[in-house]
Every structure is written in structure tokens, then in C-alpha cells.
């Protein structure tokens, strides 16, 4: 700690910070542009100048850039000094000389850091009278809009894109006053984190193009704290809504999870919420004259019909979903009874989830938070293509590798925040990352060593490294020399590291790969190494469902028989199992009730459909792969804008259905009661109570506002429906109001922040005000509650089932699903901008196999996999091993084909 004297007041600050960071953390306002809490200082923009004095007697002082000045104990500085103020005013004036001043038509306007800093600096008169330099803009793809004229040359975009996120196709071109940030040619920005440019850019050069389509100013949107449903990472998001449409997704700061950054699937994949073909009213399929027609129902009718049909059934089976909240799944489980409840997850995946859970609770090493992943000095990834399955984790792993730079700098006294000095010193040196995956990945540039092989081979590598670390771990027989050398290299790197991290997950569908990761963890622990283990699960609530427990989807499909009815919760069974099998199961059932928010094949097949809420229209709790229970809150009330919209949360529908069947009154009228009941019934989920404050939470007697206080047009926005303005919707389920009325400040600690705003801070940089120190944790603690103990039991013994070698066959290829960031998530794949980035279906073979078959890239090949027959263009990989057929995990591709054998179709052979 150090004491600094700022404008005559004394403050205690962290001595390792720079002055800007320290002052902002104290809540003092200093304007800045190029500095970013996650990217450190470069001293480029000169905006954060302050006066620094030698001692208490020095009256002249010198101007310093506060972002480049280390905090010194007993330092005297002044922010308010006239010379410093004049300097800052002149800096912004010349930064603004070429700025087009097009705020009224600029999409950044209203949440613009440049606007905020201009106002803060008092620059309100324009004196520059000459021609401005102008640029030609580029088409950067469906996600990001480009308007270079607005640039103030802070370099944040390339520093994020290249240095932080490892992107390659955004650069800074030109020199002096003619600098251009863009690609070498027009084209889609390739990096998976390009969306963060919209927040990192302090002005409107990079804007969210999906937002453009239905633009609304930040102050006119309604927000709620939400959780991304795109994968199992549990990133915190802040969706903004207007007129019943989600308009954009902004990052929501959580110092333990995603902090400032999201992946592009999470940011741009929300379009499914707004789809015109979403079911908004209950529907019943009525058979008449050999025709099946849809009859729309009201709530009462839907409940009565469903209850009647379900009561007639001998047995009601419930199929839950890893994309639905714990509360909704719990209510379904209560409705059908535990013995009839399926999690809706396929057998193989479910068993692997249970295995991962066991390892996370009883294994040898703790599960790190996403933020903690950044703080490891050796990483081995077994089997998981992180960039496609949990992209935000891949970004965290990149920071772990780059952490070497800061540690090297620390050795010679360069502070971690001095970004240019740190990078120059490091010269690209990184901590070791070892990637063992099926084939090439989009994070290969990070890898010190790569290993490509089948699931068995990856597992064998993991088992072998564990054995190399600890003799008592089972040994692997018959490894070739190259693999043996790699095993030694990895073992040595893990032993040398202070904090090694092991990452694996379920996407390969291989039990052995996960077991190998557990053995690695145990071996490290046996050798007294600290370290961590991250196990990535599949979907937003896969880990939650595994903790809740139930049967697998296969059980449900196999058991459905005559006289049974089935209630399917937010789950498209056709996306998880073979169509024939699902058809057979649903066909056998007397009645299929489907609760979903999308018009999926399962919905279309159901006898009764109940329209339910997405994350935007309802609340609930999810458990991320790190075991963090997090609550997402309803963003808007759809019936306010669409009076016939009968969308309700699944738990509300299913509880009402339950009580209707039992002809009694409802027990639960608000979410907290369901959460409480779920926690009571499932001790392992007791911690979900603390995932978020209850509906009775108040600050200074007030609920929390979902809308900024400048929210406009409320009295008129429904005038097309009725000129009399109804009362704003009331929210019984949470501490938030559907209104600008309520607390929206930062002075009182809170962890659930719908939108970040503070006086003078309209941009995402307003998060500064909500953090204990800038870039640290939220003042009211970071949202969510970890359900795993910090230290697992270390009860698990070594797994001993070392798989044998991959048995390559002459006549068949083993199928391996290849996950895709854009396309493999069922919901975001329904969003239009994501669809533009989705790969066309293909099959992939190794270079050797392609040569053997005499086929080339693009050749149409036919394969049969079980009952499936695929005719698709070929892609070839030099990294894929022979004997494996890669099949992308895309919506139109068969789901349950992992590890099956594929045969070449007859016509191709000929």
C-alpha cells in the first residue's frame, strides 16, 4: 500500500498500480482513452495527464501521463491543476479535429466513451476550421460495422484484437495523422472475439451491426442482468430490449468470470429470441378428417386440455433440458416424479457429465473460475477444441500463456501494466500450452506442442503423462517414440510449473479422455503440485442438470410406450437423437406436451404446445461448468407489447399444469419459492439460494431499475395498441422493476447490475464505478455462487482403464463430431447473423485417406453411418489421423454419431 495526496486529500492505494488506475479506483475522474484495465497502459493518447509534485513544498510540479506514472508512496499529484486541465483540454481538441461530430447518426452515441471524455474535459467549442481527413470504410462481415472517420487513433482495437485475443486480420496502417484501423482487404473479421471491439473502441468506429438492424439508444433500452446461454461458460451479459425485441447484448462485468469480454456467439447469437416464427400462444393439434390442424388456446384451455390428457395416461414421463433453468427442470421433475424424469441429455453425454461432476467434487485438483484460468503457468488441453466449445475459456487460456510476459517483466521490475515494455521484453515468449485434440484448432498458434489423434490416443497421451509424473498411476503400453518424447516434455513442463492447469471436457464424447485428465490431476497432487482442473460441459445448464439428476434421454426414448404421456421441456429431441428413434418414441406416447420457445421439430410434433420464455422473458438459475450457480433475470414482459402473447416461464406453466392435474391451487407464485423448493429437495443444489438476491432485495427501500432514468417514450410506446397507458408490468419474481423507477446507482454495493451507468459515464467504462478496484470485483461481490467446494475431496483413486490403441479399419471410418462456435449451439444457430457465419455441411478426411481414395477438396462423398446417409463435399485435413471421419456438429447433421463407424457409399466406391 502507498499513500498519495491528490488535490490536498490523502488516499491509501495499491503501490503496484499506475496513478490512473489508482485514481479511478478511488472514484476520482481522470479522462483517458488508450488505457484499458484489461490491457494496461501504453501512454499513446496523452489524455490522462495530471500534475505531479516532488514533495509537499513543490508548487510548480510537472505534467505526467497518469497511466504511465507508477504510484509512489507519499506522492503529491493534482488532477484539478489548471495547467493539467488545459493540457487535457488541448489533447482532446486535437484528437477531435478530424472527428466527424456525427453523434446524432452514430450508433455509439449515448454510450460513447469519447462523448463522456469530451464532456468531462469541457471541450464544447470547435475551433478547427479546416478539411477533415476521411477514410473509406470496410465491410467487416455480419457482426461489426466500420466507420473509420470517427477514429481518434487510441490503438485500443488492435491492442485488443492482436495482443489480447490473438487475432491476425486487423491492423494499423499508415502513419502520423493518416492512420487506418482495418483489414488488409474487405472481409469478415475472423477472430472469435471481434464483438468486443464494439466495447473496446472508445468511439463509434466499430459498432454492433446486429444492433444496427433495429437500433435503439442505450438510454432507451430496458436491461436485466442475464447469463449467456450459448455454452457452459456462464458469461454474464446485459441484454437490452425495446418494443419487445432484444436489441443487443452487452458484456456484463463479472470479475470472476468473463470480466470485460464475450465471444461472438454470446454477443451476436440472440436473434432466436426475436424470431417471427416463435410460438406465442398455446396450441393444440386436433385431428379431424385425416387432417391435423392447429387450434390456438388460451392459458386456461391449454392447462385444462393438457391436464386432462396427462391424467388419462398411465404414466407421465418428463424430459428436461440442459438449456432450461434449474427451476423449470425441477418443477417438471416434481410434476412427473423423480422416477419418471429424464434430464433430456443423451446417455453417453450424461454419463460423462456425471463423471466430470465426480471428478470436480472428489478429484485431486480444484476447478478454477474463468478469471483464475488466466493465472496459470502451464496448460494442457485434452480433447477439447475450446475455441469451438467454450470460446471464452480459450481467451482465458491465451491470457495464461501471455502471463509469462508479465512475470518476466516483474523479474526486472517492470510493472505488469506497462504493456509495451512488457511485450517488448517478452518477445512473444509464452507459458507452455499443450493441445491434444482431434485435429487443428483455432488456438494452435498458442501451442508449444500439438498432438492430434483419436479419442483413445488423446486419452493414452493423458494417461501416459500422469504415469510419467507419478509411477503409481497406470502405465500405457506400446506408445511410439514420438509420443513418448512428447509425454516427457509435457510431464516436465507440468512439474516445472507453479500452477499447471488441466483442461478437458465432454465434447469428444470420450470417458477415457476425461479419466485421463483426472489422472493427470491426481498425479500432480501426488507430486505435491498445486494446480487446477477445468472440465467443460456442453450447454448452459448441463452441469446443473447433472447435479439435479435424473434418467438419460435414451431411457426416456426407450421407455415411452403405450399408455404413456410425455412432457418435453425446452428440448428438441431431434437435435439429440436419431429422428427415427424419436419418432418411434413420441409415436408410442398417447400424448406429447412440449413447452418451448422455438418452433422446433419436437414442438411441431407435439399434441399440445406451451409457449415459454427464453432467457429474455423469464428468470432462472443455471450452473456453469465451473459449478457457479448464476441467476438470469427477465429483461422484459412480452405481453406488455403483444397483449395476445401468452409466453410464460416454463416453471410457471408446468407448476400450473401440475396443480391443475391435482385440482388444487398453485403453491408457487414467484421464482424464489421454486428456487427454495429446488434447493430443499436437492442438498447438492442448496447454494442456488445464494446465486442472487431474492425478490425482496431492496436498496434504500427501492427495487432496482431495469431502465436508465432517461428512458423515453414510455407513455407513447404502446399507443398503437391503445392510447390509455397501462400500468408498467410488475415483477414479483425479482428485485427489478420494469421501469426507470428504482435504484440504478453505484454508491451502494450490489452485485446484480442491469446496466452500467454513472453520472458522466455512459459507456461500458462505467463499470469502473461498480468495482472495488478498477478491473477487480464488483463492490457487492461478483454475481453467482460456487456450488463446488474450493478444495475437492481427493478421494478418487486413479482410473485404470487405459484404452487400447486406435484400431484403424480398412473398410470404415470412425466418426468424430467437430464442434463449431457458429452452428453447434442449437439456439444461436437459429439467429440470422450467426447463420451467415456458419459452415456449410461437409465431411472431413485425413490427407492420407483422401489420397488413398483419390478424392480432393470439394468431392461429393457419400457415407453411411448407421441409418444415416450423408452425401457431402469433402474437406481434407493434414492434421486429422487416418481412419477418422470428421462430421461437423451443425443443425442439419445427425447428432448421435460420435464413435460410430462410417462406411463409404457404394456409388463413391465405384
Amino acid at each position: 500500500m502507498a499513500t498519495i495526496h491528490v488535490d490536498g486529500k490523502d488516499y491509501e492505494v495499491d503501490g503496484s498500480d499506475n496513478l490512473l488506475h489508482a485514481c479511478l479506483s478511488l472514484g476520482l475522474d481522470i479522462p483517458y482513452f488508450c488505457w484499458h484495465p484489461a490491457m494496461g497502459s501504453v501512454g499513446a493518447c496523452r489524455q490522462c495527464a495530471v500534475k505531479q509534485y516532488k514533495d509537499a513544498d513543490d508548487t510548480r510540479g510537472t505534467l505526467v501521463m497518469s497511466c504511465m506514472a507508477p504510484v509512489k508512496d507519499d506522492a503529491y499529484i493534482s488532477i484539478e491543476d489548471d495547467e493539467a486541465k488545459d493540457f487535457r483540454a488541448s489533447v482532446i481538441e486535437w484528437l477531435m479535429t478530424n472527428h466527424p461530430h456525427d453523434c446524432p447518426v452514430c450508433e455509439e452515441g449515448g454510450h460513447c466513451h469519447l462523448q463522456d471524455m469530451t464532456v468531462m474535459t469541457g471541450h464544447d467549442r470547435r475551433r478547427y476550421r479546416f478539411a477533415k481527413r476521411t477514410h473509406r470504410n470496410q465491410n467487416l462481415g455480419p457482426f461489426i460495422g466500420h466507420e473509420m472517420n470517427r477514429c481518434i487513433t487510441c490503438y485500443r482495437c488492435v491492442r485488443f484484437y492482436k495482443d489480447y485475443a490473438g487475432g491476425e486480420d486487423l491492423g494499423a496502417f499508415g502513419a502520423h495523422e493518416n492512420i487506418y484501423f482495418g483489414r488488409t482487404t474487405d472481409g469478415t473479421l475472423e477472430n472469435e472475439f471481434s464483438g468486443n471491439l464494439t466495447e473496446v473502441c472508445p468511439t463509434g468506429v466499430f459498432t454492433d451491426q446486429t444492433h444496427s438492424e433495429h437500433y435503439t439508444r442505450k438510454w432507451d433500452m430496458q436491461f436485466a442482468p442475464s447469463i449467456c446461454h450459448g455454452c457452459s461458460s456462464g458469461c454474464n451479459i446485459s441484454p437490452g430490449e425495446r418494443y419487445g425485441d432484444v436489441r443487443r447484448i452487452e458484456n456484463r462485468y463479472n470479475g470472476e468470470v468473463n470480466h470485460y469480454f464475450l465471444c461472438d456467439r454470446g454477443r451476436f447469437g440472440y436473434g432466436y429470441v426475436n424470431r417471427a416464427d416463435r410460438p406465442r400462444q398455446p396450441v393444440m393439434r386436433v385431428d379431424s378428417d385425416d387432417e391435423r390442424r392447429d387450434e390456438l388456446l388460451d392459458v386456461g384451455g391449454a392447462l385444462d386440455h393438457s391436464a386432462e390428457r396427462l391424467k388419462k395416461a398411465q404414466r407421465v414421463i418428463g424430459i428436461g433440458s440442459p438449456r432450461a433453468s434449474l427451476e423449470s427442470n425441477h418443477v417438471l421433475r416434481e410434476l412427473v416424479g423423480a422416477e419418471h424424469f429424464s434430464t433430456g441429455i443423451a446417455q453417453q453425454e450424461y454419463e460423462n457429465l456425471q463423471l466430470m461432476l465426480e471428478i470436480q467434487r472428489e478429484g485431486a485438483l480444484p476447478t478454477p473460475s474463468m478469471r483464475e484460468i488466466e493465472d496459470h503457468d502451464a496448460v494442457i488441453v485434452l480433447g477439447e477444441d475450446l475455441m469451438q466449445t467454450a470460446a471464452r475459456v480459450a481467451l482465458a487460456v491465451r491470457q495464461a500463456a501471455n502471463g509469462r510476459a508479465q512475470d518476466l517483466a516483474a523479474e526486472i521490475g517492470i510493472p505488469a501494466w506497462n504493456a509495451n515494455a512488457v511485450n517488448t521484453l517478452a518477445q512473444g515468449r509464452q507459458y507452455p500450452v499443450f493441445l491434444a485434440t482431434l485435429t487443428e484448432t483455432r488456438m494452435d498458434d498458442l501451442a508449444r506442442e500439438r498432438f492430434h489423434g483419436s479419442a483413445e490416443e488423446i486419452a493414452r497421451l493423458g494417461f501416459a503423462v500422469a504415469h510419467a509424473l507419478d509411477d503409481s498411476a497406470p502405465a500405457v503400453e506400446g506408445l511410439d517414440e514420438a509420443t513418448q518424447t512428447l509425454v516427457s516434455t509435457i510431464a516436465e513442463a507440468l512439474m516445472t510449473a507453479e500452477r499447471p492447469l488441466i483442461i478437458s471436457g465432454g465434447s469428444m464424447g470420450s470417458r477415457e479422455v476425461i479419466q485421463a485428465a483426472a489422472n493427470l490431476a491426481r498425479a500432480l497432487r501426488q507430486r505435491d503440485r498445486r494446480g487446477s482442473l477445468t472440465l467443460v460441459s456442453g450447454e448452459a445448464n448441463s452441469t446443473g442438470l447433472a447435479m439435479l439428476g435424473g434418467h438419460s434421454l435414451d431411457w426416456a426414448l426407450d421407455s415411452l410406450g403405450e399408455g404413456d404421456a410425455v412432457v418435453v421441456l425446452e428440448n428438441d429431441l431431434y437435435a439429440r437423437a436419431d429422428a427415427e428413434r424419436v419418432d418411434r418414441a413420441l409415436g408410442a406416447a398417447e400424448c406429447v406436451v412440449c413447452a418451448d420457445h422455438q418452433s422446433t421439430p419436437t414442438w411441431l410434433r407435439a399434441d399440445i404446445g406451451l409457449p415459454v420464455a427464453t432467457f429474455a422473458e423469464g428468470d432462472g438459475t443455471l450452473v456453469s461448468h465451473e459449478g457457479r450457480a448464476q441467476r438470469f433475470f427477465q429483461v422484459y414482459d412480452p405481453s406488455y407489447y403483444r397483449p395476445n402473447d401468452l409466453t410464460h416461464e416454463s416453471w410457471r406453466w408446468l407448476h400450473a399444469l401440475h396443480t391443475t392435474m391435482e385440482a388444487r391451487r398453485v403453491d408457487w407464485t414467484q421464482l424464489d419459492e421454486v428456487t427454495e423448493d429446488c434447493a430443499e429437495h436437492h442438498p447438492q443444489l442448496a447454494g442456488i439460494r445464494d446465486a442472487a438476491p431474492s425478490a425482496s432485495f431492496r436498496i434504500k427501500g427501492q427495487k432496482l431499475a431495469r431502465e436508465p432514468h432517461r428512458y423515453s417514450g414510455r407513455t407513447a410506446m404502446r399507443a398503437n395498441i391503445s392510447v390509455s397507458e397501462p400500468r408498467a408490468p410488475q415483477d414479483a419474481d425479482s428485485a427489478f422493476t420494469f421501469s426507470m423507477e428504482g435504484y440504478n446507482g453505484y454508491a451502494e454495493p450490489r452485485s446484480q447490475v442491469a446496466f452500467a451507468w454513472a453520472p458522466g459515464w455512459n459507456s461500458p467504462q462505467a463499470w469502473n464505478k461498480f468495482q472495488d478496484e478498477v478491473g477487480g470485483h464488483l463492490t457487492g461481490s461478483d454475481p453467482g455462487n460456487r456450488l463446488f467446494e474450493p478444495e475437492p475431496d481427493n478421494r478418487l483413486e486413479y482410473f485404470t482403464a487405459v484404452p487400447g490403441r486406435f484400431e484403424q479399419r480398412d473398410d470404415a471410418w470412425r466418426v468424430a463430431r467437430l464442434p463449431h462456435l457458429f452452428g453447434s449451439d442449437e439456439m444461436s444457430a437459429r439467429a440470422e447473423p450467426i447463420q451467415q457465419r456458419m459452415s456449410a455441411p461437409y465431411v472431413a478426411l485425413s490427407e492420407g485417406d483422401a489420397r488413398r481414395l483419390g478424392v480432393d477438396v470439394g468431392t461429393e462423398l457419400t457415407f453411411t453411418i448407421g441409418s444415416h446417409r450423408l452425401t457431402l463435399p469433402l474437406r481434407i485435413s493434414s492434421e486429422l489421423r487416418d481412419g477418422v471421419l470428421g462430421v461437423p456438429a451443425l443443425p442439419t447433421m445427425p447428432a448421435a454419431v460420435n464413435h460410430e463407424w462410417a462406411h463409404l457409399g457404394e456409388e463413391t466406391k465405384a
Binding site: 492482436k162 502513419a175 467437430l818 481434407i876 485435413s877 493434414s878
Partner: protein, 180 residues
Amino acid sequence: MEPSTRDASASSSYSLIASDQYPDDFVLSDEEREAIEQEKGHFENPRAASIEALKIVQKRRGWVPDGAIYAISNVLGIPSSDVEGVATFYSLIFRQPVGRHVILICDSSSCFLTDYEQLRDAFTRELGIGFGQTTEDNRFTLLPVCCLGACDRGPALMIDEDLHGPVDPGDVASLLEQYA
């Protein structure tokens, strides 16, 4: 549209990862490629060879065409955006075609004091072009330069590799005669 997988003929290895397809209408000569490879060998970090690589291409071609940016980035194994960043930073790396001879007239203080403006006007008159332009016969490109380190010889200028100065505005025509 999704960019297609990198053309197999352009690279010896196949990848599933769709990446930008580089235009293949430009090929480095063997000589250029070798020279760049050699420069690359001099440095621990191949980035350090960027400027030399650009100079190698420019030396033989007079300027650096778009395709060369991608070709250099392939040889050095660094992103094309990095190569382009370097190429556009330096005003003497030409990213547009120039004439057979490039005239650089110094416009910094010493030369300014020794009547650079008259010299500039003489060139403009003689060639019928302004700064940044190339004569129609593709013989000369006229550019300003900030300092040639020849302050004792102001007003100074450089044509190709030759430094001239002090140059009398009246001698411009005869000076140009030396460059066909």
C-alpha cells in the same frame, strides 16, 4: 459467404479451418524469395525482416503490389496485416506504382531556407506534375521528403540513389536529362 478452405495447390498442407484466401495472381521470383529467406535468417523474430523484405520486392519492381504483402507474410510466417502495417508506415515503401525514376525533393528547414520552393516549382513546371504524381510517360514520380541529411547542400534532392545539391532551379532540365 464463408471463405473456402485455403487452396490446396497454394499450400502443401490441407486445413479444415477456413481462412482468407490470398490472391494468387502474384508470385515472388526465386531470387526475391531467397533474398527474403536470407534476411529472415538474420533475426530471432521474423517480424524484424519485414522492412528488408519489402525493400527487396521494391528494389526489383519499383513498388510493392498488394499480392507481395501476402507473399511476404507467407514467407515470414506473420499476419499480412503486420506486413501491410509496416509497408504503409514508411513513406518510401511505395504501395502504388511509381515511375522509372523517383524524385525526392527535401522540404525540411535547411532546404526551405535555401529556396526549396523555387526548386519544387521548377520541377513541377518541367514535369507538368505535382507531388505524388507520375509523368504520363511513366518516367518520373515526384515526391517530397522530409530530410535527406544533406543540410549543407540545400536545396537538396534525390533521384533514385543519387543525391544532388545544391541544385539551382535553372539546372532542373539538364538534371532530368540524365535519367532516361
